[in-house]
């Protein structure tokens, strides 16, 4: 009988992390920032139908980068979780923090126990009633959960994008300035992105009960001229 080769746990984890990171880096990046009326999420996405950004609940949005089928099933989990919780308790009892924790558990479990880690990074954003209570939870492929302040960058090339974004971003920006800043940070100095290459949505405090709203191409191009 063949004995399996010994592989140290460090090596296993490192291999899995490399595998996940490579998968995520292949995809295009996504940013989210606070602006004066809420949170704006901007993704580089040429598809008009396969979304990276979507609505979870009244004040909660979801964004994912990496492998589409994997973050989409996490998104569906989030919608179901939130809707059942709101039905059983109250709409006020659905919050981003507990959902982010559940995501961290799922991603962490998969990372340590499954053959293949999930090749995704996700963001759970909640718009508060004031800017101080806005929340951005960034969850990595291994279940690491980060509570980010003001802005968050997901996906490949995150460091360079983050550096560019932190130079221009101010939380007092209006929507137009915020979208322009995000798009500029995503594309960098060497290229340009049009409305058709981006997917933009907001969680806006002034949008009634359901704060989530997608911006169509016309509105985005209006901001970018």
């Amino acid at each position: 009988m063949n004995q399996p080769f010994y592989v140290s746990p460090e090596q296993v984890m490192k291999d899995r992390a490399d595998y996940a990171r490579k998968g995520i880096a292949r995809g295009r990046a996504l940013v989210a920032v606070q602006y004066v009326d809420g949170i704006v999420l901007v993704a580089e996405n040429t598809s008009n139908t396969l979304r990276k950004i979507s609505e979870i609940y009244d004040r909660i949005g979801f964004a994912g980068v990496g492998k589409y089928n994997e973050f989409d099933s996490l998104r569906r989990f989030g919608v179901r979780n939130a809707d059942v919780k709101g039905y059983q308790y109250s709409r006020d009892d659905v919050e981003a923090r507990s959902l982010a924790n559940e995501y961290a558990q799922i991603l962490g479990q998969t990372f340590t126990h499954e053959m293949k880690p999930l090749e995704v990074e996700i963001l759970v954003a909640e718009v508060g009633f004031t800017q101080e209570s806005d929340q951005l939870f960034h969850i990595m492929y291994d279940g690491t959960l980060v509570d980010e302040q003001g802005m968050s960058v997901l996906g490949g090339d995150a460091e360079a994008i983050s550096a560019r974004l932190s130079e221009t971003w101010r939380k007092e920006d209006d929507l137009r300035a915020a979208v322009r800043g995000c798009v500029a940070a995503l594309c960098g100095p060497d290229r340009t992105l049009g409305a058709g290459d981006t997917e933009v949505a907001v969680l806006s405090r002034s949008n009634g009960r359901r704060c989530f709203r997608r911006l169509d191409d016309a509105e985005v191009s209006g901001f970018l001229v």
């Binding site: 609505e55 099933s73 179901r80 059983q88 359901r210």
Partner: protein
Amino acid sequence: MFGPENDPGSSFVTLLRRVGIEPFGVGDATGGVAPSTPHATTVLALRFDGGVVMAGDRRATVGNRIANREMEKLMPADRFSGVAISGSAGPAMDMIKVFQLQLEHFEKLDGRAISLEGKANQLSQLVRANLPAAMQGFGVYPIFAGYDLLRETGRLWDFDGTGGRYEERDFVATGSGGGVAGTVLKVGFRPAMPVEEAVTLACRALHEAADVDAATGGADALRGIYPVVATITKDGWMRRADDDLAPRFEAFRTEQRTILEGGAS
């Protein structure tokens, strides 16, 4: 998370059952006497040029007692449709809650809203699920109406206790005052009415129903309680403010006073 083999799809009711929650009060409750519960009464809908008007009075009764003067029996189902209920108030409110959640849940999971006909079909399934309760006297008889974005017109449906779904051409009224309200609509309806005339006609139908039916509440000027009236057009659901409705009801009263003073009995 659900695997592909037990995924509940986009249905909220199926999802609730998967996680062990039964949204309807089914079970063996045969025999015994049904407890007295509030009943909601007259609701109606009619088409106009560009959409539909829906209206519902505010009174809920238990037997001959007024249980609630401010009940809202007409609610938006989503941005482009509304649902109004007559029948047993408790199950009806639960049904509306599940229905609203079902539409929103589908919209979020699938990334698009259900078609208007699909929404009516969903409501019909909820009414059917309530059939055992209806057999014990807790029936729910909704009206569903909305703006069909595909066909660019207003459409309306009513339902029987078994979930039977009937699309009406122009108008519908149901509940204890529905007979009177329906007659008023029938006499006053014209095709492609302007919106303001349609709103006035809806108010008149409720006014006349309240005049005859003790279980229907008219406009209560003393307490400042007016029926819920809303229009649904290509721009979505829009509830009419009390300030907009009050003069219409005042006009009906003035008209009636003039007739009475003129010697009619």
